[in-house]
């Protein structure tokens, strides 16, 4: 674990020293939260909208912003920089397990994910959102958002390792946007049109979003929480296995 942790610390230093890459991951999700709530809050008044469980529409939208914040994947662009600049070869010339090179950045992503999710949820609390599942729910909320950050970063690293191109990696990141909108983003799944409901059911992001939402709006609903963590964990393992395979055969 030591080489992965050492590389993780390096990736965190890198993020800290590049605030221009870090700050948009906080402000853009906040921007979408404000805009979405501004556009739809009057359609869904908290008193008469059952799926809000007595909270404002901001509480319903917060999971989308958490997922968006966790899906920037800037770590993969730093990886492409390493590849293009030759530092990646420098790392490959050291006697560390190839997995450590992949895991290092993912460890850093998880730390960044925890900090970003905490900041977003705390901002939400300031504006009247409550986490209905309590302190444990808050911890689970932050952990699931951070786990998703790791999954998405793993996907982006995979693209970076395969293409070795910043442009291709950037474009691949845009895949998330259709996935984010093919979810019960504005209303619960049972209120979607049939085709959208089918699409959302097949979209893994839906289950992560529903788990996050349940933690904010309801008490600890373990069936939804475990589904969310399960989907993220399976995707995380798949990304990790593929990345490690790719880096082991990297020429």
């Amino acid at each position: 674990m030591t080489p992965a942790w050492v590389l993780g610390q390096r990736a965190l230093r890198e993020a800290w020293r590049t605030p221009e890459a870090l700050l948009p991951t906080l402000f853009i999700p906040l921007f979408f939260l404000v805009v979405n709530v501004g556009q739809a809050a009057r359609i869904f008044p908290s008193k008469s909208t059952a799926f809000l469980h007595g909270q404002g529409y901001g509480a319903f939208q917060l999971p989308s912003s958490l997922l968006l914040a966790a899906s920037f994947g800037s770590a993969a662009l730093f990886l492409v920089e390493d590849i293009e600049g030759g530092y990646f070869d420098k790392l490959r010339a050291t006697p560390i397990p190839r997995t450590a090179i992949v895991l290092g950045r993912l460890i850093a992503e998880s730390v960044k994910g925890v900090l970003l999710a905490t900041a977003l949820v705390l901002l939400g609390l300031v504006f009247g959102i409550t986490v209905a599942s309590g302190v444990l729910g808050f911890v689970l909320l932050v952990c699931l958002a951070a786990l998703w950050a790791v999954v998405f970063s793993g996907f982006m690293q995979l693209i970076a390792l395969k293409t070795r191109s910043a442009a291709a990696t950037n474009s691949a990141g845009l895949i998330f946007f259709p996935l984010l909108f093919l979810t019960p983003n504005f209303v619960p799944r049972n209120l979607l049109t049939r085709p959208m409901e089918i699409a959302a059911t097949f979209n893994p992001v839906t289950y992560v979003m529903e788990a996050l939402r349940s933690l904010i709006l309801e008490d600890l609903v373990w069936s939804k929480i475990l589904y969310g963590f399960g989907v993220a964990a399976v995707l995380g393992v798949v990304m990790l296995v593929l990345s490690v395979r790719l880096i082991r055969n990297y020429d």
């Binding site: 230093r13 890198e14 600049g85 990646f88 070869d89 420098k90 010339a93």
Partner: protein, 269 residues
Amino acid sequence: MSDATHNGAAVQADGLVKHYAGKDVIEAVRGVDLRVEGGEVFGFLGPNGAGKSTTVKMLTTLLSITSGTAFVAGVDVARDPDEARRRMGVALQEAGLDPRQTGRELLVLQGRLFGMSPSEALTRAGELLALVELEDSADRRIKGYSGGMKRRLDLASALVHEPEVLFLDEPTTGLDPASRLTVWDELRRINNRGTTIFLTTQYLEEADQLCDRIAIIDGGLIVREGTPARLKAELRERRGLASDPTLDDVFLDATGRTRVAGDVQEVSA
């Protein structure tokens, strides 16, 4: 996994081949045999695209080997790459450095990746910064370093774990003459401490100044090998020249190119 059959050789390659699969198979290296003795400075020369960097990348475990074998410090690089990595230092073309770290942080990180404790890595980083005369800039971010400083830091990072063999791919390309001389001095100092140096270069004067022996690769095959003096003498004798040719002449002769009115042109056989 040390191999006693490579007794004394710091680097030994036999029938080294690299093919790149694709629409058409590209034969980048077509059967390279090399032997570099411990303590030597060995120069590996060749025109662009001749297979120099590909050979170095295979020897340094960064590229898979299509066929043939390669041993560095007695270790089979294909069968035991991690052990080979512990015994070699690598500084490739375009100093591979992380611009967002400071020089000291980069060296400490490198030490940690080679298994040192934080305090050992910090001490070693200090020693190396002194060796390459970068103590004053050690805590500045690398993105502010000059090309020469980056090269020297890259050299230092390749030496963190005191390797037996140091591979340098065009260590002075792009440097001004003063920086080049500084790097040469560093290399001599490193070699005097017993480290074998395997370097590629496009500067024949550099090879002449630094190398005990050289090999010239062209079209993926070694076309000349020996000491600079012996190669010059051989050409002088073969061509019946009145005076010793330069290493440039040896290179042009070996690679089938000729000098015409200041230009280098290929000779069609």
